[in-house]
């Protein structure tokens, strides 16, 4: 009896806290209504399916604005922007690339006037960039095959363990050079060498590459596509991998013997940007204002297990879900933010740190 009452009370509280959001969603939709279309690049697969369910379909239903998808390729999109006829109005880019797009004058400023006040209040500052709206929060994590490390007390839990071949034997998977930014190649190596997370930047390239060179004989897989990391763990190609949290989570959900650790995981941010001279600028801004609300953010996070950009979304998510989303209040303590400013710093010869590191990485690995 007692428990029932408590459950009821809890439920009521939950309902109450949810009601304002539901009401809000309808209000906002009124202000965002429009006609015509908005063209968005799409990556296909489960990714597109999740976006369709959480963003595209509800947006069209509530606002009357049609969503058109075109295959995603950023080289193509940039070429079309250069021509002055952008092929899509909106695209998603990794946080590390935002500066490059701004420098190339490929993006429009975001018109935040379409965003409701409580949406803006729920979004942390870094998600509301002048040129980009936070799209999702992801993490590069240390993941492993649980059948190779069955004992919970002897599982690799951070980059130090990842780089400790003696106590954690087995082959490793690391990203190839072109994925060094999102795969946390250098950050992982430096933390593995004992650099403390708060002293990570500016990155010590010499030290990082030295550590990687030592590790090279133990690497069984250098991956290029995000899906490779879980696949190589499942197929037994490697035992420990640097991977994206979403991929590992999805594999685990479907019953694969994989697990990840949040300790020292690198927090990353993707941005939505509106392309320069987009013909549907207003619809694009409406779309971004719509999907940044708590409800769509929560739906998307639930579908694909990447973190929402609106903190209010956590209140709409089941408790067990919150504890596995990167950037969530429970995890953020253990995580490290990737410093995009450092990566995009430009030297006198016009080359960014990213250019320099990429070239050194290729040189080291192709020996």
């Amino acid at each position: 009896m007692n428990t029932r009452v408590r459950n009821l009370a809890f439920g009521a509280a939950l309902l109450l806290s949810a009601v304002p959001f539901a009401a809000q969603a309808e209000d906002v939709a009124e202000n965002l209504k429009g006609t015509g279309e908005v063209v968005i690049t799409s990556g296909g697969g489960t990714w597109e399916a999740a976006q369709k369910k959480a963003f595209f379909d509800p947006f069209t239903r509530d606002t009357g604005i049609k969503v058109v998808l075109v295959p995603e390729d950023h080289a193509k999109l940039l070429a079309s922007i250069k021509l002055g006829q952008p092929e899509a109005d909106i695209t998603g880019i990794p946080g590390g690339a935002l500066k490059g797009w701004i420098n190339k004058e490929a993006v429009e400023e975001i018109d935040y006037s379409f965003f409701a006040d409580n949406t803006l209040a729920g979004m942390p500052e870094q998600m509301k960039n002048k040129y980009g709206v936070g799209a999702l929060v992801s993490s590069a994590v240390v993941a492993f095959n649980t059948s190779k490390f069955p004992d919970a007390s002897k599982q690799p839990k951070n980059w130090v363990d990842f780089y400790n071949v003696k106590d954690f034997p087995g082959k490793r998977a690391l990203p190839k050079c072109e994925k060094m930014l999102d795969g946390a190649l250098l950050e992982g190596a430096l933390m593995g060498d004992g650099v403390s997370p708060d002293k990570l930047y500016p990155l010590d390239l010499d030290r990082g590459f030295k550590k990687l060179a030592e590790m090279k004989p133990n690497v069984g897989r250098w991956w290029v596509a995000g899906a490779d990391a879980p696949q190589s763990l499942i197929s037994g190609e490697v035992d420990i991998a640097a991977a994206y949290n979403g991929r590992i989570f999805k594999a685990k959900q479907e019953g694969a013997p994989v697990e990840l650790s949040w300790d020292q995981s690198l927090l990353q941010l993707d941005f939505w940007v509106i392309t320069k001279n987009s013909p549907n600028k207003e619809n694009a801004a409406k779309f971004l204002a719509y999907i940044s609300q708590a409800r769509p953010q929560a739906d998307f996070a639930e579908a694909i297990s990447y973190g929402p950009v609106n903190n209010d979304a956590y209140k709409l998510l089941p408790k067990d879900m919150v504890s596995i989303l990167p950037g969530s209040p429970e995890l953020i303590e253990k995580q490290v933010f990737q410093n995009y400013e450092w990566w995009n710093e430009t030297a006198a010869d016009g080359r960014t740190n990213w250019d320099v590191a990429l070239e050194r990485c290729v040189a080291m690995l192709s020996q």
Binding site: S42, G43, G44, G45, T46, W47, E48, V68, V70, P71, D73, H74, A75, K76, L78, A79, S80, K82, L83, Q85, E87, A97, G100, W101, K104, K171, K176, C177, E178, K216, V219, G220, R221, W222, V224, A225, G226, A227, D228, Q231, I234, S235, G236, E237, V238, R247, K250, A251, E254, G255, A256, W354, D355, L358, E359, V362, A363, L365, S366, Q367
Partner: protein, 611 residues
Amino acid sequence: MNVAQARAAGSVDERPVKRLDVMNALSGNRWIRGTIVASPLTILLIGFLVIPLSYIVWGSFEGSKLNFSHYARVFASETNLNILLRTLQTGFIVTVVSITVGYPVAYLLTKLKSRALSTISVFILIPLFTAFLIRTYAWMVILGREGVINNALISLGLVSAPLQLLNTTFAVVIGMAHVFIPMAIFTMYSSMVRIDHDFAHAAQILGAKPVQAFLRVYFPMTLPAVFSAGILIFITAIGFYITPALLGGPSDTMISQLIVTQMTVLLNFELGYASSIVLLLVTIGILFVASLFIPLEMIWSSTSTATLDEKPRVAARLFTRLKRAMEPLLRVTESTIHTVTSPLLTRQARWLWAYTVLVLLFLTAPLIVVVILSFSSSPFVVFPPPGLSMQWWEKLAKATDWHQSFFFSIQLGAAAALVATIVGTMGAFWLVRTQFLFKRTLFLFSLSPLMVPVVIIATALYVFEARLQILGTFGGLVMGHVLLSVPYVIVVMAAALRNFDPALEPAASVHGARPLQTLRLVTLPILKPALLTAGLLAFLTSFDELLVSIFLLGRQTPTLPIKFWGDIKYQIDPLLSAASTLIVLLVTASIITVQLIRDRHNKRTSTSIAE
């Protein structure tokens, strides 16, 4: 000039007439004919290659700014040069392996009757229709640490610890050779089939050992076929990057991969352009140097008389002298080979059959893995699957988006193959049958869609088609695919035309056939095997093409490779295997149907001839 050309070329049938006005009329006619034959390829090359590529060249030094710093950067770093060298090296190894493995199979095919021929061709064609991304994943399953080969070796007790097969240059060569062996077999076969085995037979009757008859009589006649296949494979191989990226280790970076990174990750278009121009020049340079030593022009020169008339080139003279000096050594080698192989060669056919079956097994191995995976009960790509289920097939049956993509890809492939075969065949006639300056350069240039990294072609076409306002239309997409498949058609048709007896057409016209009748009743039927090969290669190029489609698609239905790519980027599951298996089944069925129809047609024609 024109009259002289006509006189030289048409001397067989026109000599008896010897009247100036008739000659004039004919030469005028020839001139018109030449223009008609030359124009489609010229329009394609200038319109869809020269103009878009000049945009790239212009962009590589930032146009009027004349900023050559991007070129300086390409050469400044030792890494870039190392990667370029490694790319050429891998391309060379893959070419040699594919040709060597494919040659005996092509040889066997020339000796077969139609039924056996169809059976083997189906087996060679099947792997070509398995999407390359799926094939690559199948190789990962086979070569992996806990893969099929390592598990077999360990259970046999041959090795104690798994061998590192994946992520090595070995894996790259295996994966790429798997792509190129069928191509090698078909391109070589289409011109080898026209070589008469009686020559080698006659040599043996005159006292040559089987090895000598092969090496000195048959083999030299097949060289044009071998070289044309080799060139095709080499320039295609050095543009590859997805297979090496997935199968190779970190040191197996290919130059195209670097260019793609420069353009899509670093967003540095100019550096990507500069690197591509360097790659294109290096490739053309290599082919040009090679043409000084090996008869590269054999691919398109219609007869060997041209080389007899000319003074032999320095390299060729050197080569002849070397050959003479080597003569005793050659004889010794031949005799040794003869003693070693004679027990094998007596039952040559059986030995060849065994070898061919092995090659076919290699070609179908990934497909077997793919088929088994499609019945997996696991949501992951694990091999062997833990249990069997139909879940992926049920999913596929409901996936209407996959069905649409499939039909769209078939439509697109058929349209592209049709246009490419017509344009390429006319172009090959032009390049082979007429004499003009810069022929070799033009031939190499017509192959450049294969030499320039696809991402560059895709970008250039994108900009170009946007200006023409045909971007995102079906026609625009078809033209992109035509550009990529025309080189295959040209190489195959040029090799076939070289083996074409030039006396047949005049003979037909002497007997009263009008030019178009000669074409329809004599020329095209003789070229039929080559035409089919060319059309098929063109279709396959389009059917498997990813990057250009992504760029030119616009809002049309995604093609099948785009569908595969989108799914594989985010998740690898057995649904892709089911889709792949289904495609292969459909394709096999259609090939067999075509073969049956052809068989019946052949039977009918042969009886009518007998009557």
